[in-house]
Amino acid sequence: MKERFATGFDPFVIPFLIGMGFVLAYCAYGILRILFQLSREDRRRFLLSLVTPATALKNIWDIFCNCLLHVKLWKRNRLLGFMHSSIAFGWFMLILLGHVETVLFVPHRINLFYYPIFFNYFVAETDATLRGAALFFLMDFFLLLILVGIALAIIKRVRSRWFGMRRTTRPSFLDTIGLYSLWAIFPLRLLAESFTAHISGGSFLTIPMNWIFRQFFGNNLYMLPCWWAYSIALCVFMCVLPFTRYMHIPAEMMLIPLRNAGLRIRHPRKGFARVEVLSCPGCGVCIDACPMSADKANLKDCTVYLNRQIRRGNERRIREISDKCLLCGKCEELCQVGVEGPALRIAQREMRQYAVEPDYAAVDMAALREAASGSKVLYFAGCMTQLTPAVGKAFESLMHKAGVAYTWMDREGGLCCGRPMLVAGRRDAAQKLIDRNTELILSSGADTLVLSCPICYRIFTEAYHLPGVRVVHYSRYLQGLVLLGRLKLEKSDICYVYHDPCELGRGCGIYAEPRKLLGQAAMIAEAPQTKGESICCGGSLGSISLDFAAREAITRHALENLYASHADAIATACPLCLATFSRYANRPVRDLAEIIDRSSV
């Protein structure tokens, strides 16, 4: 290898340098701004985590797996995974190998920023070594990989259904410029390297192309324009990057360390939330995932649009989108970047000011305390269970059969658990309810609290501090009674499909226990979309603005999914799902407790 130019410079690198300079400056400014927006304690925690070896290693590993290899996307959709990782990983390898080549062959040029990018233009091959051939082969290989990825991306733009996606987002004007410049970069690089291959050397892709080109064009006239075009495409891409969805590339590299440091959303727009919003590449996975998409009117209310509107600062739409969401968590479950759709929305709701503050001073605590005292096991049915008395009755009957002494603390009515208030964005009011319930439970002297409503269960596990009290969902508690032999179950031949309630499944990670319990009492069938991908029943208290009529389409959509299992009946473990499904279902809907009660002897 020898250098072709003593200066090691050509004017065509200038556009690239401008673009690179701009994007680096912008990112540096962005990082400082985010750091500044974090609370002092969060900032300390984050910076500390960067120098902690274990977290630092985890950061590198996660960035490698998620930003370059797109492991999560592979698991979900192989074709999409291949498309994204071939571009991201291929590009990374081209940059890396460019540096390796520079270090190996012209080490004194490594301080030149642009040299590894335009390596082939600046060098001439003098002798063919195995080492050089191997590197050239790899360069061509990764370029080919990227080109395949780009070809797939172009096909996906036209025929997204081939990639298993029913709906995608429409890119904005700048997004389109970014997209076209990104698509242009690699074919231009191929052309540029091919035109240069008889001087700089090449491999299986560039050498044959060079040969063909020389048959037609015969001279070096076309070489420089191609390098210019390549450099300009890079410049355009990098200059529009901060204002397009491609901002997700640097943002995700920031999001991963922030998340690994244990930071959470504290402000609806700044700091962590900001990075999360910027990390969304607009892949559109959440559009098909969102249960609200069952109704065309809600198509623009899923998380990708929330992110977009937050970026644009469109307050009216942010409010609309935040209020509509069911907070079912499916978008978060499927999002490969980990954008927390529900938490982001709750944070937006928390910005509102209210003239009337909740005040529960009038609650007759003495009566409630009296109702809660008496035994070691407390049962908190919650508001929703009171609307579905069959659940409470079945639980009572089971406890009776098992001979467990317990107290039903809100049989005559009690206080709400606080979760509906919390997700409506009124944290202080929710805290008042939490404090009162905590006082009732702790003063009762019980050591076990059984809950039959997943909404209550979630807030009791996440926000309550109840030292010495075991908080269990009844599916786990009843399973315990079966294991102890206090409940005997006989298997019936009715086939149930189990619907995972959002708050219990995605919310608390309880998927196996209800199935295990149900399996001892009846046959189980699985719906096509189940467990983490189960579809919200549509009754969720998470949504503020969806009204009764608008929820029907969502419920019917969720039911279709359950019907597809061909089960005789539907089982669930949430009183709200039970009430919602019962409205429209064409087959019986039963709560887990009812089913267990029927088959226990």
């Binding site: 209020d323 509102r352 000011q353 209210y354 003239a355 009337v356 503050e357 909740p358 005040d359 529960y360 009038a362 609650v363 007759d364 508001c383 929703m384 009171q386 609307l387 009515g413 009690g414 206080l415 709400c416 606080g418 509906p420 208030m421 409506a424 009124r426 009011a429 309810l433 009754g539 208290l541 503020i544 603005s545 969806l546 009204d547 009764f548 009529a549 709200l576 009430a579």
Partner: protein, 107 residues
């Protein structure tokens, strides 16, 4: 005054010509479904806050139309959603309560 063992309650007649129903009309802008309430009382019967506060969506809606104060009732709501679940008219009562909490004057 001589104690007869009973008292006369003041008249509770409401002159609909004179009431201040601005809040009611403001509410209807964002929650037009409030107008379809049939005062069936399902919400009052199911409300867990009713036991200790007298809160009830039905009462709130009536009070608004009569120009009476609703803030004390609203402040007792726990947003549990039972009233939404039982309302035969499908009124989104939680949205209505939140809207009222926003637009009410401070009590």
């Amino acid at each position: 005054m001589k104690d007869f063992g009973f008292t006369l309650s003041p008249s509770s007649a409401v002159s609909l010509d004179k009431v201040d129903s601005r809040l009611w009309h403001k509410l209807l802008e964002t929650s037009p479904d409030a107008a379809v309430c049939i005062s069936c009382g399902s919400c009052s019967a199911s409300c867990p806050a009713a036991r200790w506060s007298g809160m009830s969506i039905r009462k709130v809606l009536l009070a608004l139309q009569r120009g009476q104060s609703v803030a004390p009732m609203l402040s007792c709501c726990m947003l549990c959603g039972k009233c939404t679940m039982v309302c035969p008219r499908g009124i989104n009562t939680r949205k209505l309560i939140l809207a009222l909490c926003r637009i009410c004057e401070k009590p």
